[in-house]
Every structure is written in structure tokens, then in C-alpha cells.
Symmetry: C2
Subunit: 512 residues, 2 copies
């Protein structure tokens, strides 16, 4: 809850505190109490929960007398009733005792006292330091870029969070829970095709020209889980897989952890080139590509490379994992068909609601070839890659009632404007040292420096100024390292975008 956090601080021993009646109750505990106003949790519940913790932890000792409600409410800036309610709840649950004429006291025996206390921990003769495994060390060494900080400036891949349809979700969520939908609190395993799969199938057909049955759609919580399932269902340990470079480093981490031999393939402005692959053993069996909007470059795969890739995948026991993370949000240029539409029997297609709705929903999906549905669904179950049913129902209702289509229409206009503003400001302030592309889709643009710069150092300095602009070199794996920044325009109004672009230009000049 983004509301004001009010923290109560009692004047310390060195402060100018005048002597007040509260000093009689001066446990250090009061300093620890804070409130989140405007939050879903009522203030008296917040007070109750915190007092209980302080009591259980012994910070307010057993048997201690508590301040009268009027005194404490004055001290904490609460209404007296709030304190009375919290005290009453604590008394009901067995932590406080009211003695008429004497006041309110902490009980000497708590309800949880009958629980066995943990035996004292005997440290072993030579304490074993917890150490991750060698394969965990290898994952740590991958240097995966951190997740985005959405409240920082120009953070890429973040939609306009203030424009999220909160009121519609509030209404739909209330309706959902009030319908006492027992099937959404259970596993709902008996239902062959969840309502959200039906909505996604219709949506993919309408917006991308993809033909698939709802049974082919798995609802997951991220496109990374889609990659893990593809790795297990389609490939064996040690199989070779091709990835775009620069590209999604997290995805690379997952595929490595799934036992595959990962090979980054440099991409240029025409996208991924299958013909540049050497034919050494083992032959690659999977290509992971973002043909419509390459991440992070944003380029579209050329028709010739597209044809070559389709020829390659049809020529043997090979697969394509198509990561279409971005293509719903397009305001210019002809829409491009996904590879899936051309080779649905060989292409595994994944996308998410991260950008069209909100990353916090953690909702993604995977379209699998007809012959592999059973194996994918079993793997989904064995790995327990599921999204909560109430959330699925909420988003399905949002889609079926036409809200998603109108939300996307509205957002497209906003993003077009913001993208234009960012590109203009960058060209104005950055000078000739950078290539600033035109953007026709998505939530970010990637600028490239014409010469080698320490983009990581610049990015670190920008973090100090509350800007989240990941360095391009961080997404590069091969020797051919590109330098620049991945910049988001989705979550910042134009006025902010202008200011951030200026700071970026200044910082890049100072450290460049």
C-alpha cells in the first residue's frame, strides 16, 4: 500500500522530552510501533498485531502495566477507541488482563506457552558453514542483471502502473469472492480448459492470427517457466540450444540450470541468423528467439532470416521457442505475424500479461504443439508451475468483458506519446555519440554508443540518482560486446521523461 507511513518516535534520553505521564510506561517498545494509514488493515488491527508481537517477544515484559488507553492514544496520535479496541482484542486472545481499579496488565502466561519451545541449539564442534552447491555458484557467476526497480526513472519493461485499471479490478475481485466460487479455491483439476485459456486462445487468434485450441495453452506465472518446461519436455540433458545475444540473461540461466548446453548467437539489426551457426556436434535442437521485437534491440527479424529459421526447424527433430513478450503494444508499422502462425507443429510460443497489464500479477502462458500437450501438462504438474485460480478468473473476466481491448487501446496512445518524447529528448541532449532508434512498439528503447564506454559505471551512478537504466553490455555474452542503455518510457509521464533524459545525458558525458 503506497500510503504514508507514520512512525512514532519517543524522545530518547538525550532529547528535550518534557516529563510526561507516559514515562511511567517507558518501555523501548513504543519506538517500534508504526502505522500505515489508508492501508487495508484497520489501525486498531495494526496496533493489536504490533502490541502482540512486542508482548510475545518480551519487549513489553510479562506482568507489566500498560498505559491507560487515553494516554497511549495521545502518544501515538490515534483515537482513543482504536487503542481500546486493540486492548480488548489482546485481552480476548489471552495476552492482557484488566484489573478493575488497577489498570491493564500483560498476562504472565500466554496462550502459546503450552507449545514446546525449541530445544537449545547446540552448535556442532566445528560449525558447518552453509555453502551453496557448485551449480549454484555457477548460476551466481552468470552475472544476471537485477530485477527492475519500477519506482526509479526510465525503468524498462514497466507499464504505466498508475494507469492500471484498479477500479475495474476492485469490482471484479469483489464479485469473484462474493460468488463463493469453491471451484477456484480447490485445485479445479477436473476442468479440462480453464476460462482464461479460452480467453487467451480467442485473443491470440484475434490479435496475432494464431490458430490454437484452448487445450494447447498452459497458464504459468512467467515466460521463464515456459522455457524450463520446453527444456524438459522437448530436450535432453546436454542438448545444445541457441539464444539471442544480447538477450534475456535470466532465460539463459534457466536453460543452463535445466542441463542444456547454451550457445549465445550474436544478433544484428535483421535479428537472429540461423545460417551463421556452425554444424559441430551436438547439433542444436532448440532456438529461443524474439522475432517480432528482439530483446533488447527491438528489431524485427527480416523475411529472409525468418524463412531460413523455419526451413531449419522443419528439417529435423528441432524446435523454436518464440518469446513474444512485447508485440501487443504497437502503434506504428505493420503488425508482424508470429513464427507460430507459420509452423505451429514446431514452435512453442510464450507471452505474458507483464506489459499489457502488470508484472505484479505474475501471469504468463505457453502455447504447445498438439502432439506434446500431455507431456507438457504432466511436466507443469511435476514442477507445479501454476498461477492462482482466483487471479486467472479475474483476468478472464477482464478479457471476456472487453476491458483488455479497451485498456490496450488507451495505453497505446499513452506509450506512443512517451516513446516519442524520450527519443526526441535523447537526440537533443545526447549528441552524436549514440544511436537512438525510432520505436514503434513496446515499453523501452535501447540506445547504443558508437564507441566503447563503461556503461556499467554510468548505470551505477544513475542508480544513485534513482534511475534504473541497465547497461547494454550486461545483456551481451559473446566477445562482441555492445555498449549503451536499455531505457523504459512506460511508467514515466512526459515531464519526468524530459528530466531523466537530461540527467542521463549529463551523467553519460561526465563518465563517458
Amino acid at each position: 500500500m503506497d500510503s504514508t507511513v507514520v512512525q512514532y518516535r519517543h524522545a530518547g534520553p538525550d532529547g528535550d522530552a518534557v516529563r510526561t505521564p507516559m514515562e511511567a510506561f517507558n518501555y523501548p517498545a513504543w519506538n517500534l510501533i508504526s502505522f500505515e494509514r489508508g492501508a487495508a488493515i484497520p489501525l486498531y488491527q495494526q496496533l493489536f498485531a504490533q502490541l502482540r508481537t512486542l508482548i510475545v517477544e518480551g519487549r513489553i515484559p510479562r506482568g507489566a502495566r500498560l498505559p491507560p488507553s487515553r494516554l497511549l492514544s495521545d502518544e501515538l496520535g490515534l483515537s482513543r477507541n482504536t487503542v481500546v479496541l486493540a486492548y480488548e482484542k489482546l485481552a480476548t486472545e489471552g495476552y492482557l488482563q484488566k484489573r478493575i481499579g488497577a489498570g491493564t496488565f500483560v498476562e504472565r502466561v500466554f496462550p502459546e506457552d503450552h507449545l514446546p519451545r525449541p530445544p537449545a541449539i547446540e552448535p556442532p564442534a566445528e560449525p558447518q558453514l552453509a555453502k551453496p552447491s557448485a551449480r549454484a555458484e555457477a548460476l551466481l557467476a552468470l552475472d544476471v542483471p537485477p530485477e527492475r526497480i519500477e519506482r526509479f526513472g526510465l525503468s524498462p519493461g514497466i507499464p504505466a502502473l498508475n494507469e492500471f485499471p484498479y477500479e475495474v479490478f476492485a469490482r471484479l475481485a469483489g464479485q469473484h469472492w462474493r460468488a463463493h466460487a469453491a471451484s477456484h479455491t480447490g485445485y479445479d483439476y477436473a476442468r479440462a480448459t480453464p476460462p482464461l485459456s479460452l480467453q487467451i486462445a480467442a485473443y491470440l487468434e484475434e490479435t496475432r492470427g494464431m490458430v490454437c485450441r484452448p487445450e494447447q495453452i498452459l497458464i504459468l506465472s512467467s515466460t521463464v517457466q515456459a522455457a524450463a518446461l520446453a527444456a524438459h519436455v522437448l530436450l535432453n540433458h546436454g542438448d545444445r540450444v541457441l539464444l539471442e545475444d544480447p538477450g534475456h540473461v535470466t532465460q539463459m540461466g534457466t536453460l543452463t540450470a535445466c542441463g542444456l548446453e547454451v550457445e549465445p548467437v550474436p544478433v544484428d539489426e535483421h535479428g537472429f541468423d540461423i545460417t551463421a551457426i556452425d554444424n559441430r556436434d551436438p547439433l542444436p535442437r532448440l532456438a529461443v528467439v524474439s522475432p517480432i521485437e528482439q530483446f533488447p534491440f527491438g528489431c524485427t527479424m527480416s523475411p529472409a532470416r525468418r524463412r531460413a529459421l523455419l526451413d531449419w526447424v522443419r528439417a529435423g527433430d528441432r524446435w523454436i521457442l518464440e518469446d513474444d513478450f512485447n508485440s501487443e503494444i504497437r502503434w506504428a508499422g505493420d503488425p508482424v505475424s508470429p513464427l507460430h502462425a507459420s509452423a505451429p507443429e514446431r514452435v512453442v510460443y510464450t507471452s505474458s500479461f507483464n506489459r499489457v497489464l502488470a508484472p505484479g500479477l505474475r501471469l504468463a502462458y505457453l502455447v504447445v504443439p498438439p502432439g506434446t500437450v500431455d507431456a507438457f501438462k504432466l511436466a507443469q504438474r511435476i514442477f507445479s508451475f501454476y498461477a492462482p485460480l482466483p487471479d486467472q478468473a479475474l483476468v478472464a473476466a477482464f478479457m471476456s468483458s472487453g476491458h483488455l481491448a479497451s485498456h490496450l487501446r488507451r495505453m497505446r496512445a499513452i506509450y506512443r506519446e512517451r516513446a516519442g518524447a524520450l527519443a526526441d529528448c535523447l537526440r537533443e541532449h545526447l549528441g552524436d555519440g549514440y544511436i537512438v532508434p525510432d520505436v514503434k512498439a513496446g515499453l523501452h528503447l535501447t540506445i547504443r554508443s558508437r564507441r566503447e564506454i563503461d556503461d556499467r559505471a554510468i548505470a551505477r551512478r544513475l542508480i544513485e540518482r534513482e534511475m534504473d537504466c541497465p547497461p547494454l553490455s550486461r545483456y551481451c555474452r559473446s566477445a562482441l560486446r555492445r555498449h549503451g542503455f536499455v531505457l523504459g518510457f512506460g511508467n514515466n509521464p512526459i515531464k519526468q521523461i524530459r528530466r531523466y533524459a537530461e540527467i542521463l545525458a549529463q551523467t553519460a558525458e561526465q563518465l563517458g
Copy 2:
């Protein structure tokens, strides 16, 4: 939404349909329209969405005239206003055209017509049949028991879904979304400890005597994901891991898929016995146990075996994954401390909200040793094992306001009564052929047959009678196969429990 589905069926050509004005508009499409009354989606939206699909799919042809709203509303049993609203929305979105004096017509050009159609799929000369990988075939061969069907009788592990606090969730969810909490629609990565981790840490301390910092708690969507993370962070490919037999077959599948050598260890009424393990190479490096409530037996590990297991784990670079899926719901006997409380530096502890709240929420958590927090959090990110932030906020608010404690108190009374009723009925009807245990906790009881029976055949017959009673042999991996059934009492009122127990006894006698 569990509401009545009303399906409109137009009388077919062979029916006794009288000639009506609708016959002029007799596209087969009308037969496909159905409504879910009482659902979150208003009827006009349902009608709009279905008409749009029928129009886009060409089932109502371009240029066709639609029936007047009064006529269609009569035919579909809707108010006229509902049809008018749906028509208007279709017209606004560019699918219908109103011609004054002539009626309402389907547009000849749709908004999506500017999208490129998918190129015609050329089937390759020799069509490649999609085939799962060898390792996927191995997973398929594991014979993993299917997921539970919660609407069937005696389905194990299902809480009383009708007793779920729907109204509280409706209120909290409404408050949450109306607070426009932008931090919960983004990644919220900057926040070190999510509010739910704080709640869980306090809860584990209060109810289990476990001491851990909130930073040590990872919020996941299932305890199976916890096992996968432990496999990657603590163990290497090919490491040996010990599992209870009978036990969780899905967990075994995950650990196998994570590249571990999985060894099932037979358990008896004293639980898992580490001293029975042979000392061949490679030495086991992880034991996955449910010491408080063994699944499926429900027994508690004896103090001697507990000590032996703790000695084992402290003697080297070894780990315990403690799966405490069941212990919150206990109504008799002394509560047992988790192993984690005795060796927090060597025990990875996992549990979920499946039983205390609802499996449909897909919310679980993992407590990791202090020295491994960074590695676990990186692995969580690389595999993208996250639960949605709005759901986390909802459950955190539910806990902090004391609702979980009172919900559990109420449910404990219900489950005690149901468990007693099931045990009594089984003893009455089953006779001496089965061992029916007393149950003091959880949502299921496991009965064992004194002799070998075809429990799978009996379970299949029970499925036909809408009862979900998985056969015990399905959870056994070693040669020592036990026979019986895992029976749930959580989701059935006592009257139903009595009837189901009788059917079970009859079926077991017929096929036994």
C-alpha cells in the same frame, strides 16, 4: 463461478419448431450462445463477447442482418436492454452498422482486417510428429498420481471449501485494489522483505516455535518449487537424495528432473529411519522428510529417529528438506516441534497455505539457512518462482488482522468432528480387514489393508461413483508395496462422509 449455465438451443430442422420471425435470422450461430447467470461478467458483456466471436469467426456472415433486439431478447430469454447494450458495444467497436429504417447489419470490414493473416501452412514433405524428449518420457513413466478432484467424495488434502472466508477476502481484495497500490502491480523488487514474509515469520514463531528472520523466507507458489530450489542451490547433478516411501511422488518427479539420484526409503509407524541407509557411494546429501505428519501415513517421527537424523545432518555437508504440509491443523495430542527449530543451519523448511486456506491460492513458502539466502534468492529469480504480489498482500492483510488465527480455530473444530465421523464409520462398515488409525491432525486419514488387494481397481471403480480415494500402492516405490486408501474428510459434511464410507466399504468388499 458456480452458477447455473443456461444454454439456448434453437429447434433444429427436424424439431417441431413452429415458424417464428427468428427463422429469417436462422444462422446456426444462435445455438452456440450460452450464459452464466450470477457470474461476475454482466449478461450484456457475455452476449457481446460471444456475438463478436461468432462474427469474427464468420459464423454470422459479413453483411448479414441481425434480428431486431426485441426478437433476439425473446429468443434468448434476456431483457431487451441487454441485447441493445450488446449491439451498441459491437457497433462502437466496429463490428455492426445500424441503418435507419433497415436494421442492424454485420460490417463488411472489421477492425482487425488490417492485421496480416497468417501465411498458409505448407505441410513439410514428411510431417514431423511432435515427440517428447527421452527425459520427458521418463517423467511420464513415473506414474504420478493425478491431482485431486475436490468436488468428488473423500478427496484427500482438500480443506472445507465452503467454509473459506470468501466475504473477508471480498472486502480485503476490494480495499487492496481501491488503494491503487502501484507497488503491487510492479515487481516490487526494491522492497527487501515483503509484508507476507513478516507475517509468516511471526506466525512460524508463534505456532511452531521457529526462529527465523523474514529475509530467510521465500514466497513461492508451491512446496514442490521449494524442492526444486533446494536441489539446485544445495546439491549438484547426480547427488543422491533420500525420500520417504510411501511419499510424495510429484516431489520425487521434481527432484529427478533436477538431476538428482532419488532413493526411496521405506517408512514405518515411527517414521523415516536414517540408520537404515547403506553407505555406498555417492553418500546421500539430502533427506526430504515430513517428520511431524508423515505423508500419507500421518505418523510422527519417534524421538530416537529424530535424534539420529539430526546427528546425520550435522556430521557433514548434508541437508534436510522438511516438508511440514499439515501440522497447523491439529486438535489433539502434544504439538511437535519441527526439525528446523533444532538445526536451523542445516534444515530447509517448507509449508503452504493449501490446507490452512485454499489450494487454489497456490501460495507456499520456504525458510532457508542464513548463509544460503543470496543463492536461494538468485535461484528463485532465475527460475521465476514467484507468487503474485496482490495475492501476497491479501493474505498478509488476512494474517495481520488476526483472521487466520480465528479461521484456523474454527476449522479445527470442524475437522475434528469430521475426522472422528469418518474413522467411526469406517470401523463400523469395513470390518477387520483394514487398519483404521486415529487422526489428531490434518485433512486425511490413510487406511491400510491387512492383506494384498487391488486398491487401484477399487479406486477406479470409486471414481465412477464420484469418489476420489487414491490407492495407497500408488504412493509406494520400493518392493514393499502397501495397500489401502488415502481418504479426505476436510471438504465433506458428516452426512456425506457417512454415505461415502458406506460406498467405499461396499466397493472394497465387491472387488476385494
